[in-house]
Symmetry: C3
Subunit: 140 residues, 3 copies
């Protein structure tokens, strides 16, 4: 019998670029749901953060921010900044390209990730924030 | 009792880069489905458009196209263009990087978006097109 | 009655950048599942490969690698490389930006793709690998 269990994870971030490993908490929520086989959608309600997977190790915690700055520099002109003056035009553009949602298969009561693959939240906003990530766990 | 409701949204676009806010229409389709809790997958059947979320405001409607042109310029050489001569090699590459699919949790009968977060369709093709976006709404 | 069917596709890749068209195999697995209407989540368990859609034709098989090299060059400094010396720092960063997961609606027993849209696996690692892609097929 298929069911839906909604959960969430909350945490505080430092300013950009702050990468959090959510893997253990997501798997704990899946464990609590009783769902053995299905999917989990991990979603950030907001337009200045993103969800993806990386090997969570110190080298990449520098490489991801470096790539973001190379591709979407802080110090170029952003229309968003011209209008709103909150200093985070680049954050919005980065978030749109990385994306706010990730769906991962659940098998045997946990995410079917690779051995060196973690689910990460990427804070792209230019200030510390209280963040909430929604988990929609579906299956049987 | 879990169910699946398929719906679609159709609209006409101008040529690239034309960003449409689909949020209200997607929420209306979810409302019509009767599903209160689950997920919606928003998918574009085609390889020259993308779905993501942004804060839909005029500054970003310029910043996203600017970033696309900076990262994937129109006027460099594309193998796709050499073969097909339809002027949209860059459109295909941009679409592959942004992605054709977005899955959003549904809670309380609507998408659990942030306050300043909208679901957008991005037309990347170089001409006006009639577009169709498929919504797969699943849950209970 | 909603159900969940887990399947997988295995194949060998050459080193980067090697793009495989998975469309027919995914549709065959959906056919075998008996699910007519729902979604399929196509997921790579690993942090140096990605899933997206493209028009699978020879021009783009060159354009996607060209764009990856332009945006995430092999021969710049990566923190991952400094620590692990496996020559694939750029592979990890590319994979994080492209993403490991794609969810596609199923209608009429197959993926609702566009006519010139294929589901592709992109090998980003710097060596040949045996790869496994997980398909989570859900619906009725």
């Amino acid at each position: 019998m298929s069911k839906v269990v909604t959960s969430e994870i909350t945490f505080m971030t430092r300013g950009e670029v702050d990468i959090h490993d959510l893997t253990m908490e997501v798997d704990a929520k899946i464990g609590g749901s009783g769902i053995q086989n299905g999917i989990v959608t991990i979603f950030v309600p907001g337009s200045t953060a993103a969800i993806t997977t990386i090997e969570y190790e110190p080298g990449l915690l520098q490489d991801i921010p470096d790539a973001l700055e190379r591709l979407f520099p802080k110090n170029i002109k952003y229309g968003h900044e011209m209008r709103w003056h909150d200093g985070n035009g680049h954050s919005h553009v980065r978030a749109a390209f990385l994306g706010p949602s990730l769906t991962v298969p659940i098998t045997g009561g946990r995410m079917s990730l690779g051995t060196w693959q973690q689910v990460v939240f990427i804070e792209l906003d230019n200030k510390a924030r209280d963040r909430r990530v929604i988990l929609q766990i579906m299956g049987e």
